[in-house]
């Protein structure tokens, strides 16, 4: 699966797409592959505050529980509620339909520390080699 060029990425394999001051956050294809069959997703509700680098939700596969870390700080404006009944969307369309939350960014400058598409591709290539 191709990694979208316009996304920014974290070392924990989250992605964010920023439009004006709204960020859409998800997990990458690499992350869903590592997890395996995803069966459960727990997300914050609109109005909750996320802090950069802190866990804000949980994704569970048959085998494991994995926390999701926020790439930015901000207030949740929407959570993808369809994942509650169809968590498997995270396996089939992690960069699209299976976005997790939308946030109103507190400070756009936080995104400057994230990886670009090129940097992330190099990062996972290295991760796979280990």
């Amino acid at each position: 699966m191709a990694y979208p060029q316009e996304f920014l990425y974290t070392k924990d394999h989250e992605w964010i797409r920023v439009d004006e001051s709204i960020g859409t956050i998800g997990i990458t294809d690499y992350a869903q592959k590592e997890l395996g069959d995803i069966v459960f997703v727990e997300l914050p509700k609109p109005g909750e505050h996320l802090t950069v680098g802190e866990a804000f939700g949980t994704v569970e596969s048959v085998k494991a529980v994995s926390e999701i870390y926020s790439p930015v700080s901000g207030e949740v404006t929407a959570a993808n509620t369809q994942l509650q009944n169809t968590p498997e969307l995270l396996n089939t369309d992690p960069h699209g339909e299976a976005w997790l939350v939308r946030v109103q960014l507190t400070d756009r400058r936080e995104t400057e520390k994230l990886m670009t598409f090129d940097e992330y591709e190099a990062y996972i290539k290295q991760a796979k080699a280990h």
Partner: protein, 370 residues
């Protein structure tokens, strides 16, 4: 659990085959093993509805022989090995004096003075040491783990597939019996045993032929829906069947009676390690009891999560997972014995929140006999 730095993981003879098939590899009991190929859910369902092939060569094998072999086994295991006939197998446990298990195992009788014991991979060295140190009878003990590959073929179509790679039809082999057999032109030991809750076989044979046997079995079963299955589905399958896993339901502090394994404890066979404690518990009751539960609220119980009853944390989940065939979230937990009652509402603490669950009868899954 991660491997200690600098310690090389052990590999089965099929390691490269698994990697080439795209399996996700993990550390398990000191071994590098496939956890999944196409996905745990798919693999689990294949075993329930068709068949699955497992590389379980990491399992340990110990031979006990000599004129004192039976006497030794009667002393160190809790089941009654004297009831075995040649070519018959028995689920049992190697015992500590405190009534807990060093390991659970399958004892196969090759001859009245010769037994073959299959033990857990991570415990093999510990088991063998314990046997050597508790052998005043002078039985001959050999850790022969390196001499065997072990494949498990499990599922309702397993017998049909095995029939295609053997000259003899082995569907007459009874549950927990075994025989010398030639599969895929390799001589080995074929047992009607398994760890999935389905019909199936386990085949023990010399490692050099592993790759060919694996490939020929997969080829023979292709039209029957046979797929390779990793340790991930092996765990969810055994949990649905409510089989104990050492390190989870069993450890050096939990007695066999607490683990619902009273059926393999033969108090009337004579003295054995741990008998006193077990006889006392049999009379006076146990400190805890293993119970099965299913979640009735959203949430997945996981190993180690606290179990609550009546506003108090009273126990701990030993195995918890989604059950792919039952399509429920299930688990096993140790609870106060007086609280273990089918239908009782309990709660599981999931990352700080309590979610409702209910005690259900075990096993969670029982196959319909053909």
């Amino acid at each position: 659990m991660s491997a200690q730095a600098g310690v090389e993981l052990k590999r089965t003879a099929l390691n490269a085959v698994h990697k080439a098939a795209g399996a996700k590899m993990v550390e398990f009991g000191g071994w590098e093993m496939p956890v999944e190929y196409a996905g745990i859910t798919q693999e689990h369902l294949a075993v329930r509805t068709a068949a699955g092939l497992f590389d379980v060569s990491h399992m340990g094998e110990i031979e006990v022989s000599g004129s004192h072999a039976l006497q030794f086994l009667q002393h160190i295991t809790c089941n009654d090995a004297s009831r075995l006939k040649d070519s018959q197998a028995q689920y049992s446990a190697l015992m500590y004096p405190q009534g807990s298990a060093v390991d659970d195992c399958v004892v196969h009788r090759l001859a009245p003075d010769h037994y073959f014991i299959c033990v857990n991979a991570a415990n093999t060295d510990k088991d063998f040491d314990w046997m050597v140190r508790n052998n005043p009878f002078g039985a001959d003990l050999h850790n022969v783990s390196g001499d065997y590959s072990q494949l498990a073929i499990q599922g309702p179509r397993a017998a049909e597939i095995v029939a295609r790679v053997t000259s003899h039809n082995h569907s007459d082999l009874k549950y927990y019996w075994f025989r010398r057999a030639r599969c895929c032109d390799v001589d080995g030991m074929l047992a009607r045993t398994g760890y999935t809750g389905e019909d199936g076989f386990e085949f023990y044979f010399p490692p050099p032929e592993s790759e060919r046997v694996w490939n020929e079995l997969l080829e023979a079963g292709k039209d029957h829906g046979l797929v390779p299955v990793g340790l991930g589905a092996r765990n969810t399958l055994r949990l649905e069947a409510a089989y104990a896993l050492y390190g989870h339901e069993l450890d050096d502090e939990t007695t066999l009676l607490e683990a619902n394994l009273g059926w393999i404890v033969k108090l009337d066979k004579g003295d054995f390690l741990g008998r006193d404690v077990l006889a006392k518990q049999h009379q006076q009751g146990t400190r805890k009891k293993l119970a099965g539960f299913e979640m009735t609220e959203r949430g997945i119980a996981r190993d180690g999560y606290p179990a609550w009853i009546g506003g108090q944390a009273v126990g701990k989940v030993t195995s918890g997972s989604p059950a792919p065939f039952l399509k429920k979230n299930i688990g096993l937990a140790y609870l106060p014995p007086e609280q273990v009652e089918v239908g009782r509402e309990i709660q599981i603490e999931i990352r700080g929140n309590l979610a409702a669950a209910r005690i259900v009868p075990l096993p969670f899954y029982k196959r319909k006999k053909a």
